[in-house]
């Protein structure tokens, strides 16, 4: 019987397997950032251990960094200590680091692909759940905790039990205005926040193949929001073209590509679960609740918890509506927004900025609304400025910031105030995720841009 893509990659990385034990998996690349690494480096020091492969490790600063005045000392002393700790650890252990102000600083999952160090057939880990982003290249990429960060630093391996496999087939052609973000929000609404638990998801089908590499990254990025261990897409010519010419593309590209071309699911392979979604009928999607599974097409209305049969889900919906300050039956398009956030590892790449800019060009921002545009990396920022996108955003009335995680996670200075409502291109609408008491609606860059013009949740078709 044939093998799935995930099985092929997994088997290529097993260092040791023994009955009744997890496989010892070799890790091709570890990405490091300031928030989940300090205690790992401390652990190494305490045990007198070294980093086994500094040349398979790379660090950047993103979660806890400001997006304004980045070259001034960081004002918050606790944040400053965390950043300084990463810089000192990188120096002490010989790890490459891209710090604030560096051309390759940015959100860790934007930096890897743009450097060309994210490649098909790899195993990639990072102390960040959105590591699944790199699966877009046909890699097994997953988030780990700090103990595992330390384990990989020390041994370049990770004991892992083999996940099950799930295929999600999205067939058809997306309508104008429907994007990768809408695909993944619709998937999570369908299978739930725990639907992918224990699985590696492979996204397949014509609608997925049609996506650009950046769109594929958006889909894989939110695999974790469906509870999956990882999400991936088989590499194809688009993948190879995207890597070619990047700084760390293989020197012997031909040999590498020959291997990459073997990375697909065999026609006679079996998935543990298969799910199908009709790409033709998808609509722009938004979330109304406090977990990413609580989403609906933009044309729908806020659901009535009384209509939900499952008591657990009904209770969750009631709590979500209370937290979100929403009334059942309100059309989603009538919901007024205070802040629009365009950025993050989900939607902070150049195509996302271009898409939003194409909608707002020549228009003015809705009164009293604020819009933050935060490129995913300094390279993305430079590219956008070369194309004049910064000017489009500034003329519109948006704020043009430096690269970082920014308002995605309520850790750095970019946060929502209590009761403030956002339309956000990020990945989590959890209570307080973007700042204590903040209310988040997850949207695509196109919906974010249209919303910034109209002041209520909108798609470009509403303009």
């Amino acid at each position: 019987m044939g093998k799935t893509l995930a099985e092929k990659i997994w088997e290529d990385h097993v260092v040791r397997s023994a009955q009744g034990e997890p496989d010892l998996l070799y890790i091709d690349l570890q990405l490091v950032h300031e928030v989940t690494s300090a205690q790992a480096f401390d652990g190494l020091r305490l045990a007198g251990r070294k980093v086994r492969r500094p040349d398979l490790t790379i660090a950047t600063e993103d979660h806890n960094t400001p997006t304004l005045d980045i070259l001034k000392p960081i004002a918050d002393p606790v944040s400053k200590l965390q950043i300084d700790t990463l810089r000192n650890n990188a120096k002490e252990f010989g790890i490459r680091i891209h710090s604030l102000g560096d051309a390759d600083q940015g959100v860790v999952h934007v930096v890897g692909p743009q450097l060309g160090i994210t490649q098909p057939g790899m195993t990639i880990v990072c102390g960040d759940s959105h590591t699944s982003t790199h699966g877009a290249f046909g890699a097994i990429a997953f988030g780990i905790g700090t103990s595992e960060v330390e384990h990989v630093l020390a041994t370049q391996t990770l004991p892992s039990s083999r996940p099950k496999t799930m295929a999600i087939n999205v067939e058809g052609t997306l309508k104008t205005g429907v994007t990768a973000k809408d695909i993944i929000l619709a998937i999570i609404a369908q299978i739930g926040t725990g639907g992918g638990q224990g699985y590696i998801i492979e996204y397949r089908g014509s609608a997925i193949r049609e996506l650009s590499m950046e769109g594929r990254m958006t889909v894989c990025n939110m695999s974790i929001e469906a509870g999956a261990r990882a999400g991936l897409i088989a590499p194809d010519q688009k993948t190879f073209d995207y890597i070619k010419g990047k700084p760390h593309a293989p020197e012997d590209f031909e040999t590498a590509q020959k291997y990459w071309e073997t990375l697909f699911t065999d026609s006679d392979a079996n998935f543990d679960v298969e799910i199908t979604l009709d790409g033709n009928t998808l609509e722009p999607f938004v979330t109304w609740g406090t977990n990413p599974g609580q989403g609906l097409p933009l044309n729908a209305s806020v659901p009535n918890p009384a209509d939900i049969k499952d008591s657990e889900e009904r209770g969750a919906a009631e709590r979500a509506l209370e937290y979100m300050g929403l009334t059942a039956g309100t059309p989603l398009k009538k919901i007024a927004i205070d802040t629009v956030f365009l950025g993050s590892c989900t939607n902070g790449r150049i195509e996302d900025l271009r898409a939003a800019a194409s909608v707002i060009e020549g228009k003015k921002i809705a009164p009293k609304l604020r819009m933050l545009v935060v490129p995913g990396s300094e390279r993305v920022r430079q590219q956008a400025m070369k194309e004049g996108l910064d000017k489009v955003f500034l003329d519109f009335g948006a704020e043009w910031r430096n690269a970082g995680c920014s308002m995605c996670l309520g850790m750095n200075p970019d946060q929502l105030a209590v009761g403030e409502r956002s339309a956000s291109t990020s990945n989590r609408n959890f209570e307080g995720r973007q700042g204590k008491g903040g209310r988040t609606h997850l949207v695509s860059p196109l919906v974010a841009a249209a919303t910034a013009i109209r002041g209520t949740l909108s798609s470009p078709a509403d303009l």
Binding site: V15, T36, G116, I117, S129, G145, L409, R428, F430, R433
Partner: protein, 199 residues
């Protein structure tokens, strides 16, 4: 890591599903570079509410958290495990845990026990009617017991052994350095390296 063989204590009912790691500990508390002191951030937003279960005097001394399904979704922050441990929890019981949280908990010696939702409901009922109910979680027999009820749970032999011996995963892996060496010797040359830096 401290050995875990058996724990007896009282339990706290957290009747919520989808308790994500941003609820367990919000990002703003993640700036510390130590592994301790995170208890002040545990369920920070909810603890402002005097009605929140952790603020109720009858549950003050609980060491076992009994939560709704999909506990620990979201961010990979191990700080969520540290916050629970720093607060004094030894065990979390739920019908479903998110993968990364579960992995983190079992690495760090916080025992996460998966029970069917009906069993979770039964424990909720028991500890709500009598908050002093003593619950024993026994890794040797893989059971949770209270009053006259005993429920079995599953945990793979390897993880159970590692927890009961309090073994350090890195130490275990380093015994296989030879296997890692020979794997590395066969890695293809086209695999990317971060050093030397190419621009």
């Amino acid at each position: 890591m401290e050995k875990f063989v058996k724990h007896t204590g009282t339990a706290i009912p957290l009747r919520r599903s989808n308790v994500d790691t941003d609820q367990i500990i919000p990002a703003v508390y993640l700036k510390r570079v130590t592994r301790s002191g995170f208890e002040d951030g545990l369920f920070a937003a909810w603890r402002n509410d005097p009605e929140f279960v952790l603020n109720q005097p009858q549950y003050k001394s609980g060491t076992i958290l009994v939560a709704g399904p999909e506990f620990g979704t979201g961010s990979s922050r191990e700080h969520a495990v540290w916050a629970l441990q720093n607060y004094g929890f030894k065990v979390v019981i739920s019908s479903r845990f998110a993968d990364i949280f579960r992995g983190n908990s079992l690495k760090g010696g916080l025992l996460t026990v998966i029970l069917p939702q009906e069993a979770v409901e039964a424990i909720w009922t028991a500890i709500e009617s009598d908050p002093t109910t003593s619950i024993t979680v026994d890794l040797e027999t893989r059971t949770v017991s209270y009053g006259s009820t005993t429920v079995a749970f599953e945990l793979d032999d390897y993880t159970r052994w590692r927890l009961m011996e309090g073994l350090d995963d890195i130490g275990l892996t380093l015994k296989h350095t030879d296997a890692i060496d020979s794997f590395e010797a066969k890695r293809p040359a086209y695999k990317p390296k971060t050093l030397p830096i190419r621009i």
